[in-house]
Symmetry: C2
Subunit: 150 residues, 2 copies
Amino acid sequence: MTNTNTKTTAGTMAMAGGTHPPGGHPPGASIEDGVVLFAHGSRDPLWRAPIEAVEARMRQQAPGAQVRCAYLELAEPDLPTAVRELAGQGVRRLTVVPMFLGTGKHAREDLPLLVQTLREEHPGMEVIVQGAIGEDPRMTALMAEIAAGR
Amino acid sequence: MTNTNTKTTAGTMAMAGGTHPPGGHPPGASIEDGVVLFAHGSRDPLWRAPIEAVEARMRQQAPGAQVRCAYLELAEPDLPTAVRELAGQGVRRLTVVPMFLGTGKHAREDLPLLVQTLREEHPGMEVIVQGAIGEDPRMTALMAEIAAGR
């Protein structure tokens, strides 16, 4: 077990953000690979729809993919619950995708503490944390396009 | 002045969210057209980098585009300040782009109140509010791709 990012592989990201080269563990590649879409959460259940739509699309593209949504607060399941479920399904390599536009307190402080606890609870599981999804340059390009009304 | 979405034009969205057909007022099309990228805000100044990157890209693609970032809380400028600045630059048609992954309390409750105040302060300005950017189906597709490590 390690609390550093030494297990981060090529194609994934350190917590501090940066560029997002392709890689990681494509979900569905193996029953041992799992992905958690980790979002803030909201009291408003409709807020979750876009996160759940990403989960649905990943399942559609890779039937059998081990994908779960999880939330920091105000919504369920939380991260430990989602990861316990994936561990029960046989997942041994987990990619956590921070569904945040930027890296602020939640991705920089809250998430690493949660991940540390995950690693203690699941010592046999490799846990990889991507950068905040909004930092991917492809997201920048697409958001500029949408904001410009194209 | 109106507080309803009757000024919403084809290609833009009502507050409640839904699909995002192309359209709106492309920034830079006229000095009278402006865009505000309205995000949550964070104490962490690095959190704003992806939002500011979208602003920079829009300026790069349409030099002279009237684009501003604005924040609900924990960062500056706020929405009224950004819109006052745009109004001073001659902007008469404003598109507000909610830089949120989903439509929760902030996009559904806080933003309409802010927009109502904007319309009272700038009666000659047409204010259009897009849906939350994370609800655009192109965002769903791209986020699924990134989360799958592609």
